[in-house]
């Protein structure tokens, strides 16, 4: 299982307006009731300790189990691509450095994957960006010095990616992360 060594420094969130930042690090396997400030809605979140982005390589196995996915690994010169095929048909690609850290996650397919699972602590950043963006319903972009999350598409055709800027291996273009 995942240890807590997170090799990526995280900067504080840009937006002060986030009303529903999800707390990472809650105990695994428990259901945690999160009351959403400002909304008459409750969300039941099964909190998993395994978070892919920024986590060690071993987290991909947890993602595979959680997402009931098949896995194909493709080695590249300075990283590996772990491609998960979900039962929905959606493809998830996790990019792993030679030192074993997931530095990027990309997805595309007819429905969005479990982004809480795949982005881990950075899922809160996605949620915050979605709420402050002027991108409308069908586009999302968060570009920070440390973190990039982009998503686009429409009903039955979603795609997106998230990557940790400082963790991208030298010589690798972000264009390869898709």
């Amino acid at each position: 299982m995942r240890d807590e060594a997170n090799m990526i420094d995280r900067k504080p969130l840009n937006s002060p307006s986030l009303s529903r930042r999800l707390a990472p690090g809650l105990a695994a396997g428990k259901l945690s009731l999160v009351l959403c400030a400002g909304l008459a809605t409750t969300v039941l979140l099964p909190v998993s300790a395994q978070a892919a982005l920024g986590a060690p390589y071993a987290s991909i196995q947890a993602d595979q189990t959680e997402l009931h996915a098949s896995l194909k690994v493709t080695p590249r010169a300075t990283y590996e691509v772990h491609e998960l095929t979900l039962p929905s048909g959606t493809l998830v690609r996790e990019y792993v450095t030679t030192s074993g850290v997931v530095f990027a996650v990309a997805w595309n397919g007819p429905s969005k994957p479990n982004l809480s699972q795949l982005l881990g602590p950075y899922f809160a950043d996605l949620n915050a960006a979605a709420q402050t963006s002027r991108g409308g319903h069908n586009h999302l972009d968060l570009t920070r010095s440390d973190l990039v999350i982009q998503a686009g598409g429409h009903m039955r055709a979603f795609s997106g990616r998230a990557y940790l800027v400082a963790a991208i291996p030298a010589g690798v273009s972000s264009d390869e992360l898709r």
């Binding site: 039941l44 979900l86 429905s111 479990n114 949620n127 402050t132 999302l140 968060l142 429409h154 039955r156």
Partner: protein, 411 residues
């Protein structure tokens, strides 16, 4: 311009639109825009219910409980989206009492509708819908943010933030007129992992289920007795610097009335479920491209374009001067080539998003708003800016027109 003046301009614009002629009036670029008719409803780009929307197209609909003439409501600020199928209404904007759809066990159907920037959760209901003089009876619709369904399944919440309020959604509802007849179709009528539909035995206990096609949320236009084979989005051209609003028309049917005859544009075939076609741009063919009024910009990858850096508009382009592009739109064939397919040339311009947004606080229509698309090699998203100054025909899945069989677009 103060807010009152802003609304005055909008009101005058709408008045002029309504009085523009018996059959049609012209946008300044010359594309004819349908005047009032039974199969025409006004479509307007403005700030929407939160007065902060950009490039978002709205209309007004009337809904009633099925069979009722009194349990009814007219709702404005309904977003027109060619990128999704089905009518969805925010519970907060709903006063009419609509019956919830039940399965054979008496459990309520509910849906987790995924959008790129979040999800909308709520039950499936039935309504009689009237737009202009077109009516869809017993139409399956979604009610978003119903307080009686306040517990969101984790599989839904794990896809992004909730968009269950008018403030978060940016509209009182959404009118999805994408080519597919349902939002999911046969894939969701059998056990699946797509995560669209749920069955709720109580407000707190909803499980993913298959839902028969007939119960799924439907493209309302396909339920009209006539004028049901497609739509035409007709928007006037807008100055490159933007405008406070833009008023056009949503026309129902293609080749069914005197005001909706097929145009001269090339028929461009779409992939059935996704609506994909191909766009050739800058020497690359993007085989997963699409036209979408629900995207508020032109989204594509061009690493030579400067991106905006201000918080909230990252991902939009901010070139020092307006940049012009030529591209070719061609029929879907799933490959990386346009050769041998039907195709049509287009041109568009990319302005500086920061200048556009800062130029005039009352502006809501921006024909040169553009930004990045994440999967850099596969998609050009021709969003609402593409529709300004054009009449865009969209024929539905399984329907045909004099120009050909749907799904297709032409312009």
């Amino acid at each position: 311009m103060n807010r009152f003046q802003f609304f005055l301009v909008g009101a005058i614009t709408m008045f002029l639109a309504a009085c523009g002629g018996k059959s049609s009036f012209s946008g300044s670029s010359g594309n004819p825009i349908a005047g009032p008719a039974a199969n025409v409803v006004t479509a307007v780009v403005n700030g929407g219910p939160n007065n902060n929307a950009a490039n978002t197209l709205y209309t007004t609909v009337t809904i009633c409980a099925p069979g009722s003439t009194t349990n009814c409501q007219t709702i404005d600020n309904i977003e027109i989206d060619t990128g999704s199928s089905g009518l969805r209404i925010l519970a907060a904007a709903l006063t009419a009492d609509l019956p919830i759809q039940m399965d054979s066990n008496g459990n309520s159907f509910a849906e987790c509708t995924q959008f790129v920037d979040g999800y909308s959760w709520g039950p499936l209901a039935l309504a009689d819908l009237t737009i202009s003089q077109e009516t869809a009876q017993n139409l399956p619709v979604q009610v978003i943010g119903d307080p009686n369904f306040a517990t969101v399944p984790s599989d839904c919440a794990n896809t992004g933030p909730a968009e269950d309020t008018v403030a978060a959604f940016g509209a009182n509802g959404i009118l999805g007129v994408a080519p597919p007849a349902q939002d999911c179709g046969s894939d969701c009528a059998v056990p699946n992992s797509l995560g669209f539909y749920y069955s709720c035995s109580s407000a707190t206990n909803c499980v993913a289920v298959a839902v028969p096609v007939g119960n799924q949320v439907q493209n309302p236009v396909t339920f009209f007795p006539t004028d049901n084979n497609g739509v035409i989005i007709e928007l006037p051209s807008v100055a490159a610097t933007g405008a406070a609003s833009a008023t056009g028309a949503l026309v129902f049917g293609i080749d069914t009335q005197s005001n909706n005859a097929s145009g001269s544009g090339t028929v461009l075939a779409l992939q059935t479920t996704s609506g994909f076609l191909s766009v050739s741009l800058n020497g690359t063919v993007y085989p997963e491209s699409f036209l979408d009024t629900g995207s508020n910009g032109l989204y594509f990858t061009d690493s030579s374009l400067t991106q905006c850096t201000d918080s909230g508009i990252t991902g939009f382009y901010c070139p020092a001067s307006t940049q012009n592009f030529s591209a070719t739109v061609c029929s879907y064939n799933g490959s990386g080539t346009c050769s041998g397919t039907s195709q049509q040339s287009i041109s568009f311009s990319v302005g500086n998003a920061e200048s556009l947004f800062d130029g005039n606080a009352t502006y809501t229509a921006f024909p040169t708003l553009a930004g990045t698309f994440p999967s850099s090699q596969s998609t050009v998203d021709l969003g609402l800016p593409f529709f300004f100054g054009r009449n865009v025909y969209e024929a539905f899945e399984g329907k045909s027109t004099k120009a050909g069989a749907g799904p297709y677009v032409s312009f």
